[in-house]
């Protein structure tokens, strides 16, 4: 049997030498790209979040139920916070996944750490998404409408 060696860059690579393809596909490249793209967007989203919540007006003292209700009465801030939640959680999860792969040497340890990580990520993303979209900014507590200029009169 003779082995044929293709010329470099011909694109005809024997399957066993192929870097992409196979069961993992190009997942790692996409993960690398995602970290950069989401990172740029997160800088804008989080710096905006910190400015509006901590630096404007009374800063942290203004934050209470009414403050959150006022923001989420507006679809703009609902979308802002939703994008921040998903991008930050996926960016952070992929970062921690990388760290687990780097430092956990035993196969079983890596597997279990990643199971715990992905479970936590799933719970937090679903919980946060539900909270943003099922939240009622104008709750009636003990028959009394909470004060808030954005709430209709009961």
């Amino acid at each position: 049997m003779t082995a044929t060696i293709q010329s470099p860059r011909s694109g005809k690579i024997q399957p066993k030498y192929r870097r992409s393809g196979g069961s993992k596909g190009n997942f790692e490249m996409l993960a690398w790209l995602f970290m950069r793209l989401s990172g740029v967007v997160l800088v804008v989203l989080i710096f905006g979040h910190l400015t509006v919540n901590l630096l404007v007006g009374e800063g942290i003292h203004a934050i209470d139920f009414g403050f959150v209700a006022g923001k989420w009465a507006d679809p703009f801030w609902q979308f802002w916070d939703l994008a921040m939640l998903w991008l930050a959680m996926l960016h952070g999860t992929n970062g921690v996944r990388t760290i687990i792969n780097d430092y956990a040497e035993r196969d079983a340890t890596r597997l279990w750490l990643k199971i715990v990580l992905y479970a936590a990520t799933t719970v937090i993303i679903i919980l946060g998404t539900l909270v943003i979209f099922t939240f009622d900014p104008c709750p009636v507590v003990h028959g009394v409408q909470l004060p808030g200029g954005f709430c209709p009169a009961p």
Binding site: L54, G59, I60, D64, F65, V68, G92, G95, I124, V131
Partner: protein
């Protein structure tokens, strides 16, 4: 006595320490994010529950913690942009060291501004 290999190993100096800093700040931010989604979720439980927990963020010790957290976020953000420049800009790898010092300079300026504003609000007469 064997001599240390010189200039053959990738270790030390700005490149490695910025990598270490990026990892540590990243992990810190990730664990805070988990807690922060949980505490914000209390708005769905009741206004009182949310206001009680968010009250914990308003004491002076937490104000220092928040400043530390923002310091981690600002470093991670600026150094992340530096990493993107190293990866995508033709001269990124050549100027990575200068870019790190730019990151640290911007970090000092932004954090000075943030700390003065946030601490005077958080510790001020309320």
């Amino acid at each position: 006595m064997p001599t240390k290999p010189a200039g053959t190993l990738y270790r030390g100096r700005e490149g490695m320490w910025s990598w270490v800093g990026h990892r540590i700040t990243g992990v810190v931010i990730f664990f805070f994010l988990l807690v922060h989604v949980l505490d914000t979720s209390l708005v769905r439980v009741s206004p009182e529950a949310y206001t009680a927990v968010i009250g914990a963020y308003k004491n002076p010790l937490m104000a220092l913690g928040e400043t530390g957290l923002v310091a981690a976020i600002v470093f991670h953000a600026f150094n992340g942009l530096r990493i993107i420049a190293v990866d995508f800009w033709k001269k990124g790898a050549k100027y990575q060291r200068q870019m790190l010092w730019t990151v640290l300079g911007l970090w000092v300026v932004v954090m000075a501004g943030f700390a003065i504003r946030h601490l005077s609000l958080a510790l001020g007469g309320h």
